[in-house]
């Protein structure tokens, strides 16, 4: 068994894939072996390794969206997570310019590589969110963008040539909650509710270095309670398999209890306790970003990159995208039955949507049958 914590960053992507595969395989293998008298070598125990090899060759992609008011430390956190500087030439707007600002969508795509594993990382930025004086429906450009990516994938998937489909769907949205208030604000609730059925929403408490440990706990409890009360469906970590080792289960349990994660980011390296670490230098002390007693940055990084990246992609594909697709098809077929001249732009099997003419025929036949039955009964009785 391999421990996740021994490997850096996204090297574990192919591993997490092969891990689930190897678990199921080893179970069926042991069953087979217990049944047979002799241990005969077949060789498919190498499958996980083959998966590993192929996935390394193919490379991975991941799209991460960050959203929240400006000044919450989103860019700094992204830089800290991926140990790079994506925002070198950024221009920040003045307060006056932001009064009527609309939300923009900006994509940064980078190709990064670690120990032979290639990752195409796309960060979707949402500058202007929550910055204007009137923020009614400020999430609309964001939901439109997510839907557009779904639509694009839907078309590509239904096309004739599916060789090189690009997956631009948003796999995860980190939402930054300000730590200065008492809990969620109306704009936070509205945003998360607008997005929770389209993308995996992971709420974070931003700039956590302004909260003492007690205050962090209070705020986390408050936010968790409000998320439940308002019916916001944030990303849920999958349950551990029962035959995972204790350490993994413990880590998983701790992670779940820590949500929402309170994070701090930093672009600068400081000297602390004889080491050079990413941190923030204050007159009263040094905040170390990777110190687990200072903030949950490490947990976020582990969760996002080392253990749950693939699960985030799976949930996006299996749940959010499928919901979108089903809804799309339903809308389309209901339009088709209304207007028979319209051809389906994509090859789909028509859903069995009830249609008036057929219903009527069915009813008619039903009645006929009933009549015969009754008559039959009468004759029988008679």
């Amino acid at each position: 068994r391999m421990h996740m914590t021994n490997y850096d960053n996204f090297l574990s992507l192919p591993l997490s894939l092969s891990r689930s595969l190897s678990l199921s395989l080893s179970r069926s293998l042991s069953l087979f072996l217990s049944l047979s008298q002799e241990k005969q070598y077949v060789g498919f125990a190498t499958l996980p390794n083959q998966v590993h090899r192929k996935s390394v060759k193919k490379g991975f992609d991941f799209t991460l969206m960050v959203a929240g008011e400006s000044g919450m430390g989103k860019s700094t956190l992204v830089n800290s997570l991926f140990l790079t500087d994506l925002y070198k030439d950024r221009k920040l707007l003045n307060a006056e310019e932001r009064i009527n600002q609309t939300v923009e969508i900006i994509k940064h795509t980078v190709d990064i590589e670690e120990k032979g594993v290639k990752l195409k990382l796309t960060i979707v930025d949402t500058p202007g969110f929550g910055d204007a004086v009137n923020n009614n429906e400020c999430w609309k450009p964001i939901t439109d963008y997510i839907d557009q990516q779904f639509e694009q994938y839907f078309r590509d998937e239904s096309g004739l040539n599916r060789k090189n489909i690009q997956d631009n769907r948003v796999h995860c949205c980190l939402y930054f909650i300000p730590p200065f208030g008492h809990g969620l604000r109306p704009v936070d609730v509205e945003f998360m509710k607008a997005l929770h059925e389209k993308v995996n929403v992971v709420p974070l408490i931003a700039k956590a270095d302004c909260l003492t440990p007690n205050e962090i706990k209070k705020l986390k409890d408050r936010v968790r309670e409000e998320i439940e009360r308002f019916g916001i469906k944030v990303y849920q970590f999958p349950e551990c398999d029962s035959d995972e080792d204790e350490e993994f289960k413990q880590l998983d349990k701790e992670l779940k209890e820590c949500c929402p994660l309170a994070v701090i980011g930093s672009n600068t390296v400081v000297e602390a306790r004889g080491q050079r670490v990413r941190g923030r230098l204050y007159p009263w002390g040094i905040v170390e970003v990777e110190n687990q007693s200072h903030c949950d940055f490490v947990k976020l990084r582990n969760m996002l990159i080392r253990s749950h990246m693939h699960d985030l992609k799976d949930v996006t594909c299996d749940v959010h995208y499928e919901n979108y697709r089903a809804q799309c098809i339903q809308d389309m077929t209901s339009k088709l039955t209304q207007d028979n001249r319209m051809e389906s732009p994509i090859p789909i099997l028509p859903l069995s949507t009830p249609d008036v003419e057929t219903d009527r025929l069915i009813k008619m036949k039903d009645e006929e049958v009933n009549c015969y039955v009754i008559m039959g009964n009468i004759t029988y009785i008679g």
Partner: protein, 425 residues
């Protein structure tokens, strides 16, 4: 000969004293009087929910004002005022703290500044009303005008928020604004310097006038100048105490260190307390009265129609203006009355004419009907005459016929008689 000429003639030239007179105690007399009366100070705190307004007030005045946490889901911005009586040495202070509730929480914040502006104006209005009263008691009046406005800026580290700019622009001509950076223990030193510069430049470029510590008094000019350069103050508030060294200090304990509120290298809390309370409190009150209140008063009176000079640019006293206004008003009344009367008369005339017309019409119809009637009667008479004639001629003919018949009968009788008679022969 105007009064200024008299003054010049007499001349106010300096005179040297040959001994100690004793009027150098005047400031002390003033101080004693004010101390007996007690002082009054009103602070307005504007800031987002949870930004630390109540905690900072508690820390500044070293007490617990017992504020409850507000919710983020207020539909509108409200203001909550609480008055406290504090005492330090033998000086009594009546402090009113006004906090915004729900500021910055709504989705649409276009009108968020309005309740604040209305509140400030209301305090000026009540003072103005008191001033204009006939029987007034200004020395007993509890002055509720806001002397200082602490605007809490969220520590984003980038710049002001759009709401901050909008609100401060609306308030800078109404109240002394002192911007502070709240929860400053989340900003590192280098970031803080850049942040302060950015905020000040944004305020300047948008023409927002914040309160500047006064430089006219030499005793405090130097320290005020330095302090003006540190604006906006980056503050941290805390009512919890911790042992640091061998003293109990107000502090916030983090896993990576302890932020001491009163440590000048940690934050500007001490500077704020110095400036706001120790050095410039009286100046804040004075500025409120002489600048902001006077502006309000002038605008309000101009709205009603009072002027200092008439159209020929000669100075006009309030009395004259009042008289003029009164005559104008009465004249207006009279004019209106006259108008109404005219209108009434006209209406009456119109109605009369209408009625006359109607009458004439009726009369005409009456005549017509009469004529018709007479004609018909004439016709009837004619017919009756004809009938009577017919009747009479008919009766005549009947009579004649009867006579004839009778004659015939008689003649036949005679004949018969004759025959009878002749028959016998």
């Amino acid at each position: 000969m105007s009064s200024s000429d008299v003054a010049r003639q007499l001349g106010a030239h300096p005179l040297s004293l040959s001994g100690h007179v004793g009027f150098d105690s005047l400031p002390d007399q003033l101080v004693n009087k004010s101390t007996c009366q007690g002082f009054c100070f009103n602070i307005l705190c504007i800031g987002e929910t949870g930004i630390g307004k109540s905690t900072l007030m508690d820390t500044l005045f070293n007490t617990n004002f017992e504020n409850c946490e507000s919710s983020h889901f207020e539909p509108q911005v409200k203001l909550r005022a609480q008055t406290y009586d504090l005492q330090e040495s033998n000086v009594k202070l009546r402090l009113t703290v006004v906090n915004t509730v729900g500021f910055g929480d709504q989705m649409n914040k276009q009108d968020s500044y309005q309740p604040v502006v209305d509140y400030i104006d209301r305090q000026y209005e009540t003072y103005l009303q008191e001033e204009l009263k006939i029987k007034r008691s200004l020395h007993n009046y509890h002055d509720s005008r806001l002397h200082a406005c602490l605007y809490f800026i969220s520590p984003s580290g980038h710049s002001l928020k759009s709401l901050d700019l909008l609100t401060m622009k609306k308030l800078d001509s109404k109240v002394n604004i002192i911007p502070v950076i709240a929860k400053a223990d989340t900003i590192s030193k280098s970031e803080l310097h850049k942040f302060k510069l950015k905020i000040m430049s944004e305020l300047v470029s948008n023409g927002v006038q914040i309160y500047q510590f006064p430089l006219d008094d030499e005793t405090v000019a130097k320290v005020n100048t330095t302090m003006n350069g540190h604006l906006p103050f980056a503050v941290v508030g805390s009512t919890e105490e911790m042992m640091v060294g061998n003293k109990m200090v107000k502090a916030r304990q983090y896993p990576w260190g302890v932020v001491q509120v009163e440590n000048e290298s940690h934050c500007d809390f001490v500077k704020l307390r110095e400036m706001l309370i120790c050095v410039n409190m009286e100046d804040l009150r004075e500025q409120t009265h002489t600048r902001h209140y006077e502006l309000y008063r002038r605008c309000k009176l101009e709205e009603i129609g009072f002027r200092d000079t008439d159209p020929e640019s000669k100075p006009v006293s309030l009395q004259q203006t009042y008289e003029a206004k009164r005559t104008e008003f009465l004249g207006e009344l009279q004019r209106r009355e006259e108008e109404m009367r005219q209108l009434f008369v006209q209406r009456v005339k119109e109605k009369e004419a209408e009625l006359k017309d109607a009458e004439r019409g009726l009369q005409g119809r009456f005549e017509q009907l009469k004529r018709l009637h007479a004609e018909e009667r004439g016709a009837l008479e004619e017919k009756r005459r004809v009938l009577e004639e017919e009747q009479s001629s008919f009766s005549k003919r009947r009579a004649a016929a009867q006579l004839l018949q009778a004659q015939n009968l008689n003649a036949n009788g005679k004949k018969d008689k004759d025959r009878k008679n002749s028959g016998f022969m």
